[in-house]
Symmetry: C2
Subunit: 228 residues, 2 copies
DNA sequence: GTAAAAATTTAGGCTCGACTAAATTATCCA
DNA sequence: TGGATAATTTAGTCGAGCCTAAATTTTTAC
């Protein structure tokens, strides 16, 4: 039996790899809220498990083996399905779903997973735009173009937002930045400095700490409200 | 923070007290699937906790303190609400809900509890007829009259069934014994021996191991199919 | 290229909740 | 009432997963 702790480590390794491309002891320690020494111990154990769950060489970081990746994706599938279910079926706010899913993901049965997946129509994205892995272990590429990299004058559609900070998510909701919201980056943006974004009727100056955590797709140039 | 294990112990103490009127080390050990010595250790700890969760004197059994009872009822409320939610909202069979609720009961938030309670219309009974404790710690008396004690010729309505054996629950479902099903105890039943019960159109001989685990309310004598 | 700083690992220890084996206490029955 | 049996408790151990402090290795900066 795979413990909750092990599931959390494997999930964290997957997520850190997604975000940083490399998984170090200290990144894992911060992500999991444990001491670096604890990470070393657990990672050594995962590398000794049969089947082996991670590849590990001291001081060189960690990668998932196929077996470890499989477990990670199952947990992430649970997490994201549950998030969407909470939002859709129970009316949760999008800043509340993560904490609840964090606990539920480790305990639901396959039957529960299947039932909510069917009920939601086998969805592809969670409430923050993260792709939901399929049962056979396929994951779509997450949207990776940050709003901070958009060019003045561009019209963009929000495809994903970072989900780890509830206060940030509440802030976005208040701003009107929801999934699929259409934003216009103001013309003549300052050379360096906050991007000015038109959301609905209003313009806002958004710092880079904000625009770095919003991912978008560029909308084809067209007769849009902000460009008329 | 109260651990899952502690929650399980307190819930078990409550349930065994309901069923047997006294809570011994060995009953707890069987109920929880652990060794008797483990129970002694944990019970001593619960009695030393502040606030104290159980009253305990060696060799004399255990009772819940008000604080322990409060925790037990919260867990049981979770359990039974979840059972009903799984049956009602997700279409679970009634023999499947217990195992899933057993895991979920320890991890759901108050928000989750409130949302499903509201969605279900603040229900009073779970899928097996067990009363759902209210948030303020009130519990209705469970139905206690066993079908085995019904008299020949009586018409009864099923109010509760034992929920601990999935095979038994599947058997009942196949028989047509659901919550609120109306049964007729055949006249001229053998002096001692299996009760003959008319369910719908068919009669069945039910052993005492079955009729002991079905609880009923006597229906007032009336123009009923079996008594005409 | 080397010294200081940062990251990582090792070593040793803690708590929790289980276990087994042995000792003790309670109960039951002749 | 005593002696066998059953129930319970004590004593000692173990694995999981965390911790801190100290040692080691890697990286950085001059």
């Amino acid at each position: 039996m795979i413990s909750h702790a092990v599931e959390d480590y494997l999930k964290a390794i997957y997520e850190i790899d997604e975000d940083f491309g490399e998984v170090t002891t200290s990144l894992l320690a911060v992500h999991l809220g444990v001491a670096p020494a604890s990470v070393t111990g657990m990672v050594q154990k995962l590398a000794r498990a049969k089947p082996r769950l991670v590849n590990y060489e001291r001081h060189r970081g960690v990668t998932l083996t196929p077996a470890g990746r499989k477990v990670a994706l199952e947990v992430i599938r649970h997490h994201r399905l549950i998030e969407l279910y909470l939002a859709q079926a129970l009316g949760y706010e999008w800043d509340r779903v993560d904490a609840e899913a964090e606990k539920l993901e480790h305990v639901i049965s396959e039957e529960f997973e299947d039932k909510i997946a069917a009920l939601l129509g086998h969805p592809v994205l969670d409430p923050h735009g993260d792709p939901i892995p399929t049962k056979d272990g396929t994951v779509a590429e997450p949207s990776r173009q940050a709003l901070s990299s958009a060019q003045p004058g561009q019209t963009v559609r929000v495809t994903r937002v970072r989900d780890d900070d509830p206060a940030f998510l509440r802030y976005l909701a208040e701003l009107g930045v929801t999934l699929n919201a259409v934003l216009v980056v103001a013309d003549r943006a300052p050379f360096e400095g906050p991007l000015h974004i038109v959301i609905g009727e209003r313009a806002h100056a958004l710092g880079q700490s904000v625009t770095d955590r919003i991912f978008v797709e560029i909308e084809p140039a067209a007769a849009q409200g902000g460009a008329a």
